[in-house]
Amino acid sequence: MSDDRPFKIAIQALGGQGGGVLSGWIVKLGERSGYIAQSTSVPGVAQRTGATIYYIELFPRRLAEEQRKEPVLALMPVPGDVDIVLASEIMEAGRAIDRGFVTGNTTLIASSHRVYAIGEKIGMGDARISPDSVHAAAEKAAGRFLSADMEACAAATDSIISSVLFGALAGSDALPMPRDEFEAVIREQGRAVERNLAGFAAGFDAVRSGAVETLPTAEETEAPESTAAPAVRPLLTRLETEFPEVTHHMAFEGLKRVVDHQDPRYGTLYLDRLKTVLALDDDDYQLTTTVAKHLALWMAYDDIVRVADLKTRATRFSRFRRDVVAAPDQIVHVSEYMHPRIEEICDLLPPGIAKWILGSKAARRITGVFLGKGRRLPTTKLRGFIPLYIVASLKFLRRSSYKYQEETARIENWLDLIREAAGRDRAFATEIAALQRLIKGYGDTHARGLRNFAAITAVLDTLERQPDPADATRRLHNAALADENGVALNAALVRLEKGEQDSSGAEAARA
């Protein structure tokens, strides 16, 4: 063999991804190609979904025979002394870089996909971390950096990411063994051979084609292009003539949403409301765009009618088949986990009756018998579909409902706050508009969102007195999304009050 030197290989993986399989393959590959192979790992708790590392050393048997001595192989990688790093996820490539395993001599092969860490997943907004800096660092740090979405390759070939990485290792030419030898290892093991070979081939091709980066995702099944229905054409005309172009994209999406939620008349209300803000905006129309988005979300509030409607749509039926990766003709039954409470029912009733029921202990107790626990509705069966279909047809009740009245009052109040602020500080007004993001979800989540929204809008006066009101508002916004129990928000509010007192004290002193 021309390349007669030892190889040090680290696999940086997540517990449960099958890094042990890959490690075993590389050992077998080495042994059948004239190498003394040693591998180690640290099983234990890290195997349960944590980050873990496998380490392999391959030493040419010929060199050892010449010396008549066994080589002394290390049991863990040393920073600066790793020839090949295989990372089963892009952040794990980052971890390998952080640990110093990736240098100018290293071939770094990484899957570009993300497996979000628990810290990223539990955020109340978007706590995901961008891997861009890891990508950039990998390009810089590694002698060679090869990356592809190997998770997608594995899914496309119904194999596991280990086979794709093994293929990528073969494709990288970082080891001197030919492709046949790699494939022979998979064949010899004799488990899920065809699928593993398919995954292997996908990995091999992914790094060979230089087609670094993602495979095309499953194609969207888009509805055929159709022109706007006559009933909404006047709305579109209004949008195009009365609103500047930069706002069109968002306002169009917003308009579509509210009309879908109710009817074209609701769309007119949306444009009317949006227009009052446009009148106060400046040339970049940042405020109008922001309001266009959040106003639509607020007006298309979630109620049982909307949920029932979304759950029974034909498009949703094809989507869940895709989501659960059903085979083309496979029968799939779906049941919904619903827990409608008396509050959700009252949302649809006339305000008077709703208030009476919500205020009456007896009425609550009686309805509690029917609504006390969660239900599973089989939407793909008639006894689930029909009730949902009927509820979805109750749109006509909305305008006279309790919830509509409540939301209308809240929306108008919010718009008043925006408009009031816009006259003095448009950036501040934009941040007030963005506070709608806090109001989401159902039940307790929704109540908490409303509470946080109210807590922040209650101190708008104080916020406006800050050196940068928009920034101060954004900070409260973020604090509200920091934890479920409002600890961060309360602390931020206290700080704001205190800072206010401090600075007013300072002003007083100066005076």
Binding site: P79, V334, H339
Partner: protein, 714 residues
């Protein structure tokens, strides 16, 4: 039975002299035990020696052929007590566990057997769970060896040295009438390599011989006056005998060059890492050839004074490489040199970190610091790859990479216990939670953040026993089935009953010793040829006198929540025990998945459940994830152009345990979760009913689509 099966690999245990054995370190240790003519083996599972127990369990047939008795001991104490068989009889025995935690548990019996002394060779194989990946307090086994005066072997981490030391360990034990500990670091346990095998040996004197010819020697019992005699024996007979054997048999090695002004003394287990550090500094080649004299301690206790003095004499300084603290070896070397009037300087913790694992990098830096001080003229040549990252880039990467704490597996039945607990805390306020050892300890990590302390295996309830007062809030303690049978039955439940405890215990009964790799227990549901299973926890608890007892299926979150609330608020005084049951999902999948796949292949009707989230009703608050943390419940970009926050998403790893749906119900979260039943090989009725339903539902959907088209925008 266990998470990993060695059924295939154990066949290699039969190979004979001259054949090359390929395999993992612990498998090699098993082979070496058989080559040593061992009569009995016991132990308790735990990383990093879990696989040793699994190998032994899978090898019971071969063990039987060689007349070796194997026990999956109830605890490390039980395992250590097995060694009593070697006190009176020339029987070789080996026991194994995770150290130092297992050694803590075993130390009562260990101290006794060390006092009595042994006739047959005794080997205690300890898996040292220290450094990266460790789940326990960072302590040293060395202290146990010293306090009980057992000898401690720390072989070079290659299979030839490890297996050699197993065999020599028995000889040393017999030569000095002392139990011997063999310390294997975590990576050595799992190192894959090879060695040349020998024939297996059936012992001449068997267990049956012992039972049919009982021998008794009053002087071997730890009771006055013998106990005082034992101490003297240790000093006057056993110690010198051990020193003689180690010296004569050259268990320690003098490697590297034989001249020079400086030298290195290293624990055998760190030898390979040291050589790599020297190689990367241009001071050694790949075969361990180096000019630097190296004294490799394959026996770290006792130290051989004459060897230490001979090695150090004439050198200006030696480097003592000793992992962990306190630095017993360094102190001992200093004391030996002082007594021998040798002036050599000893550098150890002065150039190495006092705490933490001695990785290749740490060793490289420590050696460099030593050479800088004591051999600054020595030619060195750093041979490592070029670091092309600026400090700023490196810092950015460090700050970007998210931490990945361990967590419950996909579909884990323990998850809903803590989901329910989180919900109960919302209702009745926070309470003190005393944790135990086991997978359930992941509750202390996000997203649950539940649990105050963990005092040891099976000690969950004992760990909260002081918190017993006339209080408005009770405490909750956790215990796994593993911990329960290990000692929690007595230290927890018995203790609570006897002391009229008024608090709550949740026993997580998943049918396995799950955290250690899915070994069977007394209460496992599975049948096991060689073990008695299906002994219910509830029966044992009742037998101890607990009257408030509930068994709950963990996946029924609403009921779990209700039972927990009842236990916390009932007026009834006395200990309350909830047995939360559901099979470990990892083991269940391992068992069921192949069966299901085969059924699908064979054309049988199979329904696979999994869950999903509707992206258009999900508002991206992630409350569901905060109550679950399931690896298959993750995020994806929000497809809604109006929304920015990612939506929850269930990936295809979902095993359909139902916790996310159950949480959505119990916590009244949102209507986004759905369960999908995927039907494989549908029967006639499936097809017909689906066709009829499809026609009706399709008709209604088209009708509504038409209505919607009236307002279509594109």
């Amino acid at each position: 039975m266990a998470e990993r099966s060695f059924a295939k690999e154990v066949q290699d245990l039969r190979i004979g002299a001259g054949e090359v054995f390929h395999g993992e370190g612990i498998l090699a240790v098993t082979k070496a035990l058989l080559q040593s003519g061992v009569s009995y083996v016991g132990g308790y599972q735990g990383a990093p020696i879990s696989h040793l127990m699994d190998v032994l369990a899978d090898a019971e047939e071969i063990l039987g052929e060689l007349k070796v008795h194997f026990e999956a001991s109830a605890s490390e104490a039980a395992a250590a007590a097995m060694l009593a068989a070697s006190v009176n009889y020339p029987l070789r025995g080996a026991v194994t566990w995770k150290s130092t935690v297992g050694t803590n548990v075993a130390s009562d019996a260990l101290a006794s057997v060390a006092s009595s002394g042994v006739l047959g060779g005794c080997l205690v194989i300890v898996g040292e769970d220290y450094g990266e990946g460790s789940s326990i307090m960072q302590e040293r086994t060395h202290a146990f060896a010293m306090k009980s005066q057992m000898w401690l072997l720390d072989p070079r981490p290659n299979l030839t040295s490890i297996t050699e030391m197993v065999e020599r360990g028995f000889e040393l034990s017999e030569a000095s009438n002392t139990p011997v500990m063999l310390e294997l670091r975590i990576r050595a346990c799992h190192v894959y390599g090879s060695f040349v095998a020998k024939d297996n040996v059936t012992p001449d004197f068997t267990l049956r011989d012992a039972m049919e010819n009982p021998q008794r020697d009053y002087s071997r019992v730890v009771l006055p006056p013998s106990n005082f005699v034992h101490e003297v024996e240790k000093i006057e007979d056993r110690w010198p005998a051990a020193i003689r054997f180690i010296e004569e048999q050259k268990l320690n090695e003098f490697l590297g060059g034989d001249n020079g002004d400086i030298g290195i003394v290293v624990q055998g287990g760190l030898y390979n890492a040291l050589m790599r550090a020297l190689e990367l500094s241009g001071l050694a080649d790949s075969f361990g050839n180096t000019k630097l004299p190296i004294y490799c301690l394959n026996v770290t206790y006792p130290l051989i004074e004459s060897e230490v003095v001979d090695f150090c004499r004439g050198k200006s300084a030696v480097l003592m490489i000793e992992e962990g603290q306190p630095e017993y070896l360094e102190q001992a070397v200093n004391s030996i040199l002082k007594n021998a009037d040798v002036e050599t300087k000893v550098a150890g913790k002065s150039v190495f970190p006092r705490a933490g694992e001695y990785t290749g990098q740490v060793l490289k830096e420590g050696v460099a610091a030593f050479l800088d001080r004591f051999a600054p003229t020595l030619d060195r040549d750093e041979a490592i790859g070029e670091n092309r990252l600026s400090d700023g880039d490196a810092k950015t990467v460090a700050a970007t990479v998210p931490g990945r704490p361990a967590g419950f597996c996909t579909g884990c039945p323990e998850r809903p216990v803590f989901s329910a607990m989180k919900l109960v805390q919302k209702d009745i306020g926070k309470f003190h939670v005393s944790c135990d050892i086991g997978c359930h300890l992941f509750s202390i990590l996000p997203p649950f953040d539940i649990g105050n302390t963990t005092m040891g295996y099976g000690l969950g309830w004992a760990g909260s026993s002081a918190l017993q007062a006339d209080s408005k809030q009770r405490t909750v303690s956790i215990m796994g089935d593993g911990g329960f049978w290990h000692n929690g039955l007595t230290s927890g439940v018995g203790n609570a009953v006897f002391n009229k405890n008024d608090n709550v215990l949740v026993i997580v009964d998943n049918g396995y010793s799950a955290a250690t790799g899915g070994q069977h227990l007394l209460s496992s549901r599975a049948t096991n040829k060689t073990k008695s299973t299906n002994n219910r926890i509830s029966k044992a608890v009742k037998g101890l006198g607990v009257t408030w007892l509930e068994e709950v299926n963990t996946y029924d979150i609403s009921r779990m929540k209700k039972v927990l609330t009842d236990a916390m608020t009932t007026k009834k005084k006395g200990p309350k025990v909830i047995v939360a049951q559901s099979e470990c999902m990892l083991n269940r999948q391992r068992r069921e998945k192949p069966i299901r796949q085969k059924a699908i292949r064979d054309g049988k009707r199979v329904v696979r459940e999994r869950f999903g989230v509707d992206e258009d009703t999900c508002t991206g608050d992630h409350a569901c994830i905060r109550l679950s943390g399931c690896p298959s419940l993750t995020l994806k970009d929000n497809p809604d152009p109006l929304r920015d926050d990612p939506v929850a998403h269930v990936n295809n790893e979902c095993v359909g345990c139902g916790v996310c749906g159950g949480n959505a119900h119990a916590a009244v979260l949102c209507p986004s979760f759905y369960r999908a039943d995927l039907v494989y090989n549908p029967n006639w009725w499936d097809k017909t009913s689906t066709r009829i339903r499809g026609a009706i539902i399709g008709f209604l959907q088209r009708r509504r689509d038409l209505r919607r088209a009236r307002y279509a925008f594109e």
